[in-house]
C-alpha cells in the first residue's frame, strides 16, 4: 500500500496527517512551537522551530499509525499564509519570520498603495494590500532593518521554507503566492510589474507551481533520518485555506465552506476570476489547477467563544477540566438553554478588529441589548449567533459577486457544536453539511500529494473519492425568519458604532 503525508505548518504548531491511497485517514500528529510577540501587534516565529516541529510530527505520525515510513510515496505541504522568511545567499535565515497576524505594517501598506495605485493592484493581485500580507513586510524590513534587507537573497512563505529544508528546492504554489500582494492572480504567475515597482528583486521569489505539481524530492539525509525511501515526491501544496478546501471537497461551483476556527473563513469555489470591487473579500488562486476561490475572513470566530470562556466562563473552564469535557461543549450546552436570538441580546465579534467586511483594525467587541433578565447562557448564545452573523456578511458579499452558493460545509472546531451548526444553517439560509474527516489543511495537502503521484487523475477525483459529507442540516424556517430580522438590526450596529472604536483608542 502506498501512503501520503500532508504537513501543515500552522501558527500554533505543525500538524501531520497520513492517508492511504484510497484517501483514508491513517494517522495524525501535532507538534507545537512558540509564537513570539516582541511588541504589541507583532507576531514572529523561528523558521527553525517549524522545521524541527515538522520532523517531530513526522516521526510521531509513523509511531502512532504503525505505517512503515518506507511505504510513503509523496508529501504535500500547506501552512499559514503570508508569513515572510528572509534568507541570505547561503540559505541562512536572516531574522525571525514575520507572520500573517503581525500588524506592524500599516504605513507600508499605505506606501505601496500610493505608489502603485489601488486600481492597478486590484487588477493584478485582485486584493488590496493588507497589513498581514507579504509585500509590506518586505518593505518594513527595508525601512527599519536596512542591514537585513541588504542581505536578502530569498523571500519564502512558511511552508516553502519547510520545503526548502525537506527537498532543497525553492518553490511555491499559486494559492499561497496569491497572498503576497506581488502575484498576478488572473495569470497565476509572479507579477514582474509589482515586484519591480517596489524595487524588489525577481530572483527573491521562487518559481510558482500549480498545487498538485511535483516541485522536488525529499533529500537523502532527511529521508534516511526518517526511515523513508529515496525518491519521495514533494508537491507544491497550497496555502492553508486552499488546501483546507481540498480536504473539504470545495472543488466545484456552488460549494462553499464555513470554517469556525480561531478565525472564521467563508471559502467559495469560483470557475473564473471574480473580484469584489470594494476589496472586502479575497480573491486568490485555488489549489485546483486553473480555478480560483473567494474568501471572507473574520478574525475572531471561535476565538470569540474562547475569549468568553477564558474571561467570563471560568466556571466552565474548571468544570471542563474536572469532567474532561470540551469547554466549548459545556458552553454550547449552556447556550442551548437560552432562546434563539438570546432574548434580544446581540454580540459584535470584533475582539481583534475585523477584516471582512469592515477591514477595521480598531473595531472592538460589543454586547448590545442587555437587560437584567439576561443570564450567562444568553450571553454565550449571543456570542455564537454574533459570530454566525459576522460570517453571514461574507456570504452576502459572495452572493453579490454572483458566485453560486448551493451547499455549505461546516468545518473547524466550531462545527463540533450541534447548536452552532443549527444556528449557522438558519443564519446562512442554506443546507449545511458536515464532512467525515475534518482534519483541516493537512488532509488536503496529503490528497494533493496523492494527485501529484498519479493515484488520482486530478484533484476533483481525489475529493470525490476521499471526502465524504455527513449530517445534513436544513435551515429551520422559523429560526431562519427570526434570524433574518435580527441580522438586519445586527448589521446596522457596526456603522453606528464604528466612530467610537477609533475614538476610544485615542
Amino acid at each position: 500500500m502506498e501512503y501520503f503525508v500532508g504537513i501543515d505548518v500552522g501558527t500554533t504548531g505543525c500538524k501531520v496527517v497520513l492517508i492511504d491511497a484510497n484517501g483514508e485517514l491513517r494517522g495524525k500528529s501535532v507538534s507545537e512551537y512558540p509564537l513570539y510577540t516582541p511588541r504589541p501587534n507583532w507576531a514572529e516565529q523561528n523558521p527553525e522551530d517549524w522545521w524541527q516541529g515538522t520532523l517531530q510530527a513526522l516521526k510521531k505520525v509513523f509511531e502512532v499509525s504503525g505505517v512503515n515510513p518506507k511505504d510513503v510515496s509523496g508529501v504535500g505541504l500547506t501552512g499559514q499564509m503570508h508569513g515572510s522568511v528572509f534568507l541570505d545567499a547561503e540559505g541562512r535565515v536572516l531574522r525571525p519570520a514575520i507572520l500573517w497576524c503581525d500588524q506592524r505594517t500599516a504605513r507600508e501598506c499605505q506606501e505601496i498603495t500610493e505608489k502603485i495605485g489601488l486600481e492597478r493592484i486590484m487588477q493584478i493581485n485582485c486584493n488590496p494590500v493588507l497589513p498581514g500580507f507579504t509585500a509590506p513586510k518586505i518593505l518594513w524590513v527595508k525601512n527599519n532593518e536596512p542591514e537585513v534587507y541588504a542581505k536578502i537573497a530569498k523571500v519564502l512563505l512558511p511552508k516553502d521554507y519547510v520545503r526548502f529544508r525537506l527537498s532543497g528546492e525553492f518553490a511555491t504554489d499559486v494559492s499561497d503566492a496569491s497572498g503576497t500582494s506581488l502575484f498576478d492572480v488572473p495569470k497565476r504567475t509572479w507579477s514582474q510589474e509589482l515586484i519591480q515597482a517596489l524595487d524588489f528583486s525577481p530572483s527573491w521569489f521562487p518559481p510558482s507551481f500549480e498545487s498538485p505539481e511535483v516541485t522536488g524530492y525529499i533529500r537523502k539525509e532527511v529521508a534516511s533520518a526518517l526511515g523513508m525511501r529515496d525518491g519521495v515526491i514533494v508537491v507544491a501544496g497550497g496555502g492553508d485555506n486552499a488546501a483546507g478546501a481540498i480536504g473539504t471537497g470545495i472543488v466545484k461551483p456552488g460549494l462553499v465552506s464555513a470554517s469556525l476556527g480561531t478565525s472564521g473563513v467563508v471559502f467559495a469555489f469560483s470557475d473564473e476570476v471574480r473580484v469584489d470591487p470594494k476589496g472586502r473579500v479575497h480573491t486568490f488562486c485555488h489549489a485546483v489547477p486553473g480555478k480560483w476561490h473567494v474568501m471572507g475572513v473574520m478574525l475572531s470566530a471561535g476565538g470569540s467563544l474562547r475569549w468568553f470562556r477564558d474571561v467570563l466562563g471560568l466556571e466552565e473552564k474548571n468544570m471542563a477540566l474536572l469532567l474532561e469535557k470540551d469547554a466549548y461543549e459545556l458552553l454550547s450546552e449552556e447556550a442551548e438553554k437560552s432562546a434563539p436570538g438570546a432574548e434580544g441580546l446581540l454580540f459584535l465579534p470584533y475582539l481583534t478588529g475585523e477584516r471582512t467586511p469592515h477591514a477595521d483594525p480598531f473595531a472592538r467587541g460589543v454586547f448590545f441589548g442587555i437587560t437584567l433578565k439576561h443570564r450567562k447562557n444568553d450571553l454565550v448564545r449571543a456570542v455564537m449567533e454574533g459570530v454566525a452573523f459576522g460570517m453571514r456578511d461574507s456570504f452576502e458579499i459572495i452572493k453579490e459577486m454572483g458566485i453560486p452558493i448551493e451547499e455549505v460545509r461546516a468545518i473547524g472546531g466550531g462545527a463540533r457544536s450541534r447548536l452552532w451548526r443549527k444556528i449557522q444553517a438558519a443564519v446562512y439560509q442554506v443546507p449545511l453539511f458536515g464532512v467525515k474527516v475534518d482534519e483541516g489543511p493537512a488532509f488536503g495537502a496529503a490528497l494533493l500529494a496523492a494527485v501529484g503521484k498519479g493515484v488520482f487523475r486530478n484533484v476533483e477525483e481525489a475529493c470525490a473519492q476521499a471526502v465524504t459529507v455527513t449530517e445534513k442540516i436544513l435551515p429551520d424556517s422559523d429560526l431562519m425568519a427570526q434570524y433574518e430580522r435580527l441580522y438586519r438590526i445586527w448589521r446596522d450596529l457596526y456603522p453606528a458604532l464604528s466612530p467610537f472604536y477609533r475614538r476610544i483608542v485615542e
Binding site: S300, G303, W307, V311, L312, L314, E315, G341, E343, G344, L346, L351, T352, R364, G365, V366, F367, F368, G369, I370, T371, L372, H374, R375, K376, L379, R485, L486, I489, D492, L493, A496, L497, P499, F500, Y501, R503, I504, V505
Partner: protein
Amino acid sequence: MCMYLLGTDIGTNGTKTVMVDEKGNFIADAFVEYDVITPKPSWAEQWPDVWLDAVVKTVARCVEKAKVNPKDIAGLAISGLYGGSGIPVDRDIKPLRPCLIWMDRRARKETQWVKDNVPLEKIFGITGNYVDSYYGFTKMMWIRNNEPEVWEKIYQFVTPKDYVVYCLTGELATDYSSAGNIGGVFDIRRRTWSEEMCEILGIPRRMLPERIYKSSDIVGKLKKEFAEKMNLLSGMPIVAGGIDAPVAQLAAGVLGPGEHVAMAGTSMCWGTVHDGTYLTPFLVSFPYVVYDDTLIYTFGGSATSGALARWFRDQFGRLEKEAEKDFGISAYTLLELQARDIPPGSEGIIVLPYFMGERSPIWDPDARGTILGLSLYHTRAHVYKAMLEAAAYALRHNMEEALKTGMKLNPECWIVGGVARSSFWVQIFADVTGFDMKRLSKDVEAPFGDAFLAGLGTGVIDKPERIKEWVSFRPVIKVDPERKAIYDRYYELFRELYESTKGVMKRLADIV
C-alpha cells in the same frame, strides 16, 4: 422623659419600620419582604393589603423588640414607594384592582398620546414635569382606556401609604409630595390639583384626594383594632409622611438649596431641593417633605446602580460568591480587588447601564444595556469596573440636567445606600462626576425620615433643622483631577453612544 418615634417605609420589595428616640438614636427595627406582581414584562402591580399587612407586622414586631412603654411612643409616620396610579377604590374604599406601581411601564400609548396632543409648555408649565409612563397620571389613563368596567366604579385613587393611613385612622387624605409625584394633574406652583389639566387628560378631579396635608401633619388617630394588633395605644397620632425618596433625602439631612444626595441602592435616586425656580422636564419635581409650601424637591433616577454589580456577580462571579461563603469577604470586594489597578475608563470599555430601560434624564423604556470596546486584551475585571463606571456616568448625566437649569450644587455630594459601602465605587462616583463624595456614617433610610416627621408632627421635635443633629458623616472622598480629566472624555463618548444607538435599541425592543 424620653419619647419614642416610629417611622415606616413601604418599599417596592419590602416594608421596614424603625423606632428611634427623640435624638434619632436607633432603638429597634423590623422588616417584611414581599414580591411585586409582574403579570407581563414591564408590568408591575400590587394589592394594597400586602402593604397594610406588612406595616402592621413590622410595627408590631418593632414595638415588641423595643420593649418600651406604648405610652412613651409619640406617633408614627409612613412613607411609601411611588404608587404610580395609586389604588383605584370604590365608594366603600375597597380596592378595585391592584395598584400599578412606579416600575410599571405599560402606559406607552397614553404617554405617546400626551406627547402628541399636549404641548410640552402646557404640561410642564403647570406641573413642572413632563410625561413618561413612570408618572401616575399615565397609568390612570391606561386604566380608563383598557379597563372601563373598573374605571366606572372608581371613587378615588389612593396612594399606597395613604391607603394604609386610611385603614389605620379612617381618614382619607394625601400629602403634597405624593400628590405632586402623580404629575400631570398637579399644579406645582399653586400646590393643588389643576382643573385644566384634569380636563385635558380626562382624569376627573373627583378621583383625586380632596385633602392634601403637609408631610409632618397629623392625619388622624390610630383606631383601636389596629392599636391592639400593633401593641400601641389607640388614639396615637398618625402623621402624613410622603414619598420615600424625599423622606430618605430628609433622613440624610438635606434641608436647603445646594445640598444634594445620591441614594444608590439597587437603583439610583439623586436629588436636591430649591425654591421652585429650577425646573426641567427631564427630571422629576414635587413639593418637599419639610417646608412643604416653599421647597421643591427635584430628583433624577437611574433604573440600575447596585443592580449592575449584582447582575455581574450573579452571572460571572460564582467563584467570588463561593469565596464569600468560605472566607466572609464580600464577593463585591473580591471583584473590586481584581479591578483595583485598572485605569479610569477600563482601557476603552464603555457600558451603557440601561439594563432595565432608563428613567431620567433619557426616559427611554426601550434603552438597553451595552458593553462596548471588548478585545482579547480585556479581562473580567475590566468589564466589572466598566459596570461600576456606568452607574457613575448615569449619575453625572442627571446632575448635568439639574445644573443646566442654573441651579447651584454644593461641591460635595452626599451618598448613601448599599453602593456607598464600597469606597472603591464611591471614588469612581467622585472622579466621574467631579463632586467630592461624602458618605453618611450610618445607612440612613426613609424610615428614619418618617420617624423624624412623626416627631415634628407630634411636637416632640421643634423644627426641621434638628435633622442635622441626627446625621454624621465619614471622611470625604475627594475628586482626583487627573482621573476626572480622563473620565470627562469617556463621559462624552458615553453620552454619544446612547444617542447613536437608541434607534437600534428601539428596533430591537420592537421585535423581542
